[in-house]
Every structure is written in C-alpha cells, then in structure tokens.
C-alpha cells in the first residue's frame, strides 16, 4: 500500500526542518519545570505556551 501524500501542495504544507526543530524544542521546554520544585512552573508554562501560540500565529501570518 502506498502513502496518501498525493495531494497538491500549498503554503500550508511547508513544514521545514527549522520548524520541526522549533516544535520539538517547545515540547522539551514544557518538561523543564520538573527541575523547578516551585510554583514558578505555573508562570513558566504560561509563558512558553503563549510564545508557542505567538510563533504559530506568526508562522501562519494570522
């Protein structure tokens, strides 16, 4: 059976290596609070999530 990657490409399909690395870094960054032992983790998670949303919004020009 073959993969279904047969559709036409557009700007939506551009997922570069840089973007892949940035995505992975954000996921890893979400796990860092295990080292905090503090309520600071709360603010840290909000900042990282907001930064990720801002990044995706910028990437898709919304």
């Amino acid at each position: 059976m073959s993969s279904m990657n047969t559709c036409s490409k557009s700007s939506l399909d551009r997922y570069t290596k840089v973007e892949r690395v940035v995505d992975l870094l954000f996921i890893v960054a979400m796990l860092i609070p295990f080292a905090f032992q503090s309520i600071t983790a709360y603010f840290y998670w909000i900042i990282v999530s907001t930064a990720y949303l801002a990044y995706k919004s910028w990437r898709w020009k919304i």
Binding site: M1, S2, S3, M4, N5, C7, S8, S10, S11, L12, D13, Y15, D23, F26, I27, M30, P33, F34, F36, Q37, S38, I39, A41, Y42, W45, I46, V48, S49, T50, Y52, L53, K56, S57, R59, W60, K61, I62
Partner: protein
Amino acid sequence: MMLLAVIIYMMIGTIIALYAKKGIITQEDYFLANRRVGGVISALTYASTTYSAFMMVGLVGLTYATGVGSAGFELMYLVGTLLLLSYYAPKFWRIGKEKGYVSPSEIFEDRYGKPVATLSAILALIALIPYTSIQIIGSAYLLKIDYTYAVFIVAFVIAFWAFLGGLRSVAITDAIQGIFMLAMALLAVLWTAENVAVGIPESARFPNDFWTPLRFVSLTVPWFFFALTNPQVSQRMFIPKDERALKRMVVLFGLFGLIYTILVTLLGLFLRQGTEIGVFPEVKYRDEVTPALLSIMPEPLAIAIALSVIMASVTTANSIVLTLSSMILRDVVGEKRRIALGRFFVIILTIFLVIFALQKPGYIVELAVLSSTILLCQLPLILGIFHFKIGGKLAGLSTLITGFTTAVSLSYLKIPWTSIAVLIVSFVVFFLLGIFERKH
C-alpha cells in the same frame, strides 16, 4: 430560577437551529456544514467541542487538590494540539475535500480497507458513549430538579439542535456558548479574587507527590494526541471553508484554550489559597470544589456559571453524537447519500446516552476516563497514512484490537502507565504486522 435560565437557553438555541436547518440536502451539508465554515466559527466550535465540563468542574478541582501541575498537564495538551494541528490539519482538510470524506474513519478506508474503518467507528462508539453520558449526568445534577427529568431535558437539548440543523446548528450554537463559557470563567475568577483570595500557595508547587514524572506523562499522552485520535475533533479539520479559515481555526482555538486554561487553573489556585488562609472551606472530594464555590456565590452569578458548565457539556456531547452518527451511517451501515438515517442515528445514540445516564453504573466514570486511552490505538494508523508505506488490513485490524484490549485490561488492573503501554503495543503490532503484510 436555574430551570428558567435553561428554558431561555433552550429557546435561543432552538431558534438558531431552526435558522441553520435551511438548505440541508446532502450528508456533507448535514455533518460538515458543506465545508463552508469560517475561521472564527470553526475555532469556537473546535474549542467548545474540546473543552467539556471537565474544565470548570474537573480541572478546577484537580488544580485545587494537586496544584500547578494541572496547568502544566492542560497546557501540554494545548501545545501538543497546536503542534499536531499545524502539521496535520492542512493534510486532513485537503484529503477530506479531495476524497469527499465526511466521517473521520473514512480516512482509513482507502488505505486499510473497509473493515478497519468499520472497526474504528465501533471502537469510537464504545469509547465515547460513556464519556458523553458523564456530560449528561454532570449537567443533570446542576439543574437541581428531579434527576430523571433533568437527564431528559439535557438529552433533548443535545439531540434536538443536532437533529434539526446538523453541524451548522451545532457550530453556531457552539460559538455562542463558547464565548459565554469564557466570559463566565472570567467572572468566576474575578469574583473569587474579590471575595475569597488571590495568590498561589507555595504548597501548590510542581512536581509533588501527585505530579510525578510517570503520572504526568501517563495522563498527558492520551490528551497530547487527542486532536488526531478523537473523531469529534478530527472531523472538525474537514469543515473550514478555505486555507485561511483553517489557519484561523487553529490559531484562534489556541488563543481560546490558553485563556480558558489560565482562568480555570487560576480559579483552582485562588480557592486553594482561600482554604489555606481559612476563608474557603476545605473540600475533600475534588469534583465538589466548583459546587462549593457556587454555593457561596450570589444566586444569579452561580446560575450563570452553572449554565456555562451545562453549555460546556452540551457543546461536547452534541458534537460527539453528530460525529458518531456520521461514523455509524457511513462506516458501519455504508449509507453515503441519505441524511434521514443520520438524523435517526442522532436520536438512537441520544437514547443510549439517556439509558447510560439514568442507570449511573459504577464503572461509567472509569470508562469515561478511559475513552481517550482507548482511542490512542488509532494513532499508528493515522500516522501510517501520512508517513509509513507499510500496513494494510491485517495490520490495521490487529492494531485496533490489541490496542483496545490493552487499554481495557490494564485500566481494569489499575495500572498507572496504561496509556504509555497502549501507545507502545499499538505501534509494535502495527509495524510487525505491517512488515509481515509487505513480505506476503
């Protein structure tokens, strides 16, 4: 007064549903609003479908009881969803449009064969009926009238709007209710800050005895992949009218989720602070934290917030009913043209939900919690469509059966790492049988 608020709510929703019902001819019209939904409405219906009563009841209580780790768990889900949607939503949207997919399981049919799509639909049914019944049970309690009548009222609201106007009606009512849910969460936080406490107690730190790395990962895994594995949200990837609407859906959903999560977790943390300084009673059972808060609020505000919890349940439940109806119709029965049968299944599914909700079986909570873990077994099949060349009917069927069996048996044994095991077993079975299939 609560009942009056619900009656007004039902009337407004019904007027919208009657308006939305015009022009429904095909199954695409009924189940996908003819793939013509704008970005803002798509985002709001996605958010309202995703965020159930768990937020204002479950997550408030979880944060109160276990601290800031709950915010990390929920925000991890949000970041994971944004990641998955930014990569897979365009692919789902385009394939859905090009191949005319309506039910989310149809994406399996071309690659793995009809039996896999059918089994996937049946598993979704098994996983989501108890989960949806819990939404009815929670809302029925909030109505504070005879439980049986309350179940019928909530079930009627869930079924009637979906029955009349299909997804168009569900999406518009979801959008309005989503805004109301957000506004009420904000009001709850402001009132609590003014009348209970502001601040995050040091005892709420992360990690702690509850939020161990194993528990965090085990709870996060099913939610991280929720956007792909849960059909009521994966079907939402088919509905935006164009690429711009699709992008808006993803980003605005993220914004909604971020604000809602911050508000809900702040509420839990402020209440915990209130308990520690002795101005809010200590609540032992965490799902009772929000009801305890409502009991000390002025009645109109308490009713409005309770109504927002009912709305969160209804928006999740009617989307699930509509999606399951499309899956039974197209993947199990094989009917891909008429919509009357789709409406019929909306009623039948709601009757099942009512039966579950009225019986309140002891195992229903466990089954509801298990729903996302059961659906995890579909993940290798979904990723296989876009990334792997191996895997056909045998690999597809075996992955679903072993993943489901693992989820049910390990959770019955109360194994804390059930979701991780389901993920590993499903991928191992998929790859092993995929390689076997290719060689034979």
